[in-house]
Point group: C2
Chain length 418, copies 2
Amino acid sequence: MKKAVLITIGDEILSGNTIDTNSNFIATQLKNIGFKVVQIFTISDEIETIKKTLKSAFEIGDLVITTGGLGPTKDDKTKKAFAEFFNDTLVSDAETLEHLRQLLIKRNREHLFDINLLQADILSKSKVFQNHNGTAPSLMVEENGKIAICLPGVPYEVKPLIKNQIIPFLQEKFEQNFIVSRIISVVNFPESLLSETIESWELALPENISLSYLPIANRVKLRLTALGKNEEILNQELDGEISKLRPLIQNHIISESGDSIEEILRDLLISKKLTISTAESCTGGELSRLITSVSGSSYYFLGGICTYQTQKKTEILGVSEKLVQEKTVVSEEVAQAMSLGGQKLFKTDISLSTTGVAGPNSDEFESEVGTVFYSIRVQNFEKTFKLYLPHLERKDFMNFVSMKVLQDLIEILIREKI
Amino acid sequence: MKKAVLITIGDEILSGNTIDTNSNFIATQLKNIGFKVVQIFTISDEIETIKKTLKSAFEIGDLVITTGGLGPTKDDKTKKAFAEFFNDTLVSDAETLEHLRQLLIKRNREHLFDINLLQADILSKSKVFQNHNGTAPSLMVEENGKIAICLPGVPYEVKPLIKNQIIPFLQEKFEQNFIVSRIISVVNFPESLLSETIESWELALPENISLSYLPIANRVKLRLTALGKNEEILNQELDGEISKLRPLIQNHIISESGDSIEEILRDLLISKKLTISTAESCTGGELSRLITSVSGSSYYFLGGICTYQTQKKTEILGVSEKLVQEKTVVSEEVAQAMSLGGQKLFKTDISLSTTGVAGPNSDEFESEVGTVFYSIRVQNFEKTFKLYLPHLERKDFMNFVSMKVLQDLIEILIREKI
């Protein structure tokens, strides 16, 4: 397997202002064509640091991809560092300049500024990947059989460049081994206990198959990755190992295919022909966002409502005012009434509801911050759950609860044989 | 300013399975107490790699913080690498063991497994920060005036450890300079043009004040950071520089205080005493999630509805069937009817609506993928916008559109003097 090293350039990541999502995307894409990312450097935008890091990166990798530091402003120095590192000079490229001019015309800007002109400068020995969504082109330099590629930093620009141009280029350039991986989603099984349970199976895995544990919310994803010359044989090997694993943890497996909870749910709902809706409060829309974040969700998701204000729960979902006064808004009973109201409003098989306090402040009933009730209704079946998550920050709380609701729904759909 | 280096350990980041959000959080927290993160290494879970990286990190930083590689499973090797690097031995710590025992009892698990016991091993010369949300403790080692701290990898465990224990510890340990920063949010101003416009102002900034550009969606955040001994003087200096900047870009500034669009919106809505609701389609709940992701949003956000299926737009929002047939569901007219329906349903001052196609597949009207109309209604004022974003992936599309809706709302609230 060829080794890749990523270099993320720019102070916005180091200062904590921006989360680096590019590395994640690039690593996933590279994995599919047989490159393993062995290290990621996140560095500041200084020529000497960039050059020093390029040197370290080439010591461990066959392919080096940088993101960031190509913008037009003063703090962007990647291209200069590349030129110095590769003993090359920067020259203005007519084709890139024309591409840039067309792009700016599309954006209703006829005038090119001096700093825009500089963006058409390329290393004399580089190959250019034109950027259709921004002004900085991507450049590729090859030396001693190793490759360096620099990309802009904006994720919206990086993704299409990687997917449509760089991956096809690398695929053609290198002929790689096949990689096949499978993800087994395990729930209600603490990582340490799981590890003890499957230890002897893990130790007996053949050398070309590796296992990793990926805990996410309270699910553990076991990823098996197989490497070899023949795709069919790899699939057979994985089938064999998984059939040995299955009896050890059977009741805890919720999926052997999907990766994210949303994808697992999609496959289940489509195969069972069930429709779904949401009636949220404390999750603020995160639950419906998660469900709709996968393509195909319009086949089963009919709609969602977020009744944030207590009065809206009464007006729109028909939760009785008396019930709210008696039980308070963060209660099992209100969660149940909300999911019933949602099911009626959207006319769906499945209805999910959440009511709780994300914090940091409490509600008008002084409910305890971090408490949440959620109700899962599948046709006539209903089950209510309670969670207490006082240590989670607001956004994490909204996300964790929503993930857990979907995970419990999946378990119900599997266990209750609906 | 003291220098910090972060090391993220574990294959789940390198493989592209997990996005590293810990570094972002830690960098932000460290910045507040005067530490600048100068580099981040993301490495695999191998003892030799960890030791080599610790060495590189100590060459450039005064403080080294690692995350990951402390779990109970076989692929976690950080603690061993720390012991070897610091020529120390691992010893079982009675206090940590007792803490672990209590934690597992709370989780209804009375029995400690062998691999759980190992989690109570600490370096003999380390200080322990007990982990209240997981089984791996955080350890601190001091050598030659420099400090190394290892943390688990799970974000829900990292955040409280950093916030409640590590930051207070570092604050007491080091007496640092004051750091004051301001964020100016600029819209409708391409980065290159902005940079040209404020170049001479930027060049004239005093040495202790630095400027960085943070483009996010189609807003640019200008961050001014001042460093010095006296907080009051720093604030005066920043006020002075900002008052020189203001006339250069006045019409493009939407905020001089808030950081995120959601926070800027919160401050505006609370000060203007306006309520808000959402009527979404293609954004799938992301718009209401964004609004509710900041604390205090329950003061102005009354609720949101996501009518994903076309029929629900008619049934719940009162969008006429005839209009949908005539104009198609992704149209200016349907966006307007949706925001009107939302305003009536939730009885709010402001109503926002979105209708579009996130892709990758089109809808029943074969609308072009990436097209979206959104309507912003503030009392009797209404304005409709169109975006065409065919290159964005589904989740990015939902997020970009929602950010843009809120940004345009902020502009309307400021410009229209509502």
